[in-house]
Symmetry: C2
Subunit: 245 residues, 2 copies
Amino acid sequence: MTPTIELIKSHRSIRAFKDQPISQETINLLVEAGQAAATSSFIQACTVIQVNSIEKRQQLATMAGGQSYVEKASTFLVFCADMKRHELACEMNDAQMQSGFTEQFITATVDCGLFAQNVAIAAESLDLGIVYIGGIRNKISEVSDLLSLPELVYPVFGMCIGVPDQDPDVKPRLPLSIVLKQDSYDDSKDRELLADYDKHVKSYYHSRGSNTKEMGWTDQISGMLVKEARPHMLPFLQKRGFIKR
Amino acid sequence: MTPTIELIKSHRSIRAFKDQPISQETINLLVEAGQAAATSSFIQACTVIQVNSIEKRQQLATMAGGQSYVEKASTFLVFCADMKRHELACEMNDAQMQSGFTEQFITATVDCGLFAQNVAIAAESLDLGIVYIGGIRNKISEVSDLLSLPELVYPVFGMCIGVPDQDPDVKPRLPLSIVLKQDSYDDSKDRELLADYDKHVKSYYHSRGSNTKEMGWTDQISGMLVKEARPHMLPFLQKRGFIKR
């Protein structure tokens, strides 16, 4: 165990922040930490929009489904998968870019994930709290317009960062034995393991300090998955030049 | 600056490893660190296959385009986006899962990115080195068969982990001002910034200890993007239940 691993294992999302600003110097440091992540074939496909405008923050909070901390957090960053810069690189070298491949969508999206997780850990190492905001994809077209994102750029998720004004528990994760498999995908014990895990999650929700509920993991997940999942995503992405082939 | 941020900023991929095993206890600790990452709506969509079999390692090294360190690294993990577990959760609750949404593909893929980056940083905090292996997507269908991955599971990337037997330089990243934008996507200065960055990258490649070359960033990227990017990905993913709508 190292202090860094202890830090990583203590993660929980923070949704209430103190009214305490973060300096631009610190934000720059966090984004530089993001840039230090591995990047597929050096594509560096993540661009971050730091949203300072109060009006834009309010609109983003609404678009994300009424998540007020998007407005209230000291810092709000939007992580964008960006192949516009690659188009420019091609132009600068008189090359014709072949775009629209699903593979490129994966590499750009994964780049954003690795980048953002570095930002998250760097922030937490400074005693800041963070929460990812996937909710911006509720209104991905409106969010893109609000931030003037061009074709070949899409907002993957946002992130609130600030000084925590709450201290929630760490949520119990799936048992290691279901998540880490040896040499091949064997799920013969998964049903049993999930049933046990359900009990564990129920007891966690039941006993935690606030927002107690009676719910396991499988019922929570199944309740979510019987519904459509943002069906506008594929047409939006294709319009913006992604996943066309 | 914190020790964790210093660690993050010192990342470079390691492709040569000492012949020194990593204990299962340590691997478990790394995967638990991965599990601690944020996960979209608590879906926990990442499953890790730890590949121990020498035969499978050799085959994976070949499938990844002849990357011998896939065979030689002490540990090789394959990070899979996994919605099979969600299907089981639905079954256990007599619910009918709606699958195939691009949105679900994004959340599961991003989950793997955040998870894996935690594993990477945790490993580096233990003085281990890592390299992501996107090359397994060269032969994604064969890799999936080799690891017996069912429908609704796809291998996003692999990761070699081991004790470093090399000490490469940190590669210079894009200028912060091109990657971090304020309030909206303004790329009016990007061409100029990329031209400067090209010089910087050229000088880095020219002066580094080994594998010197004459190349900037934009020419490297454009050389790559004039080619098709794994055109088999979309049909493969659709066959496995992803990106169908």
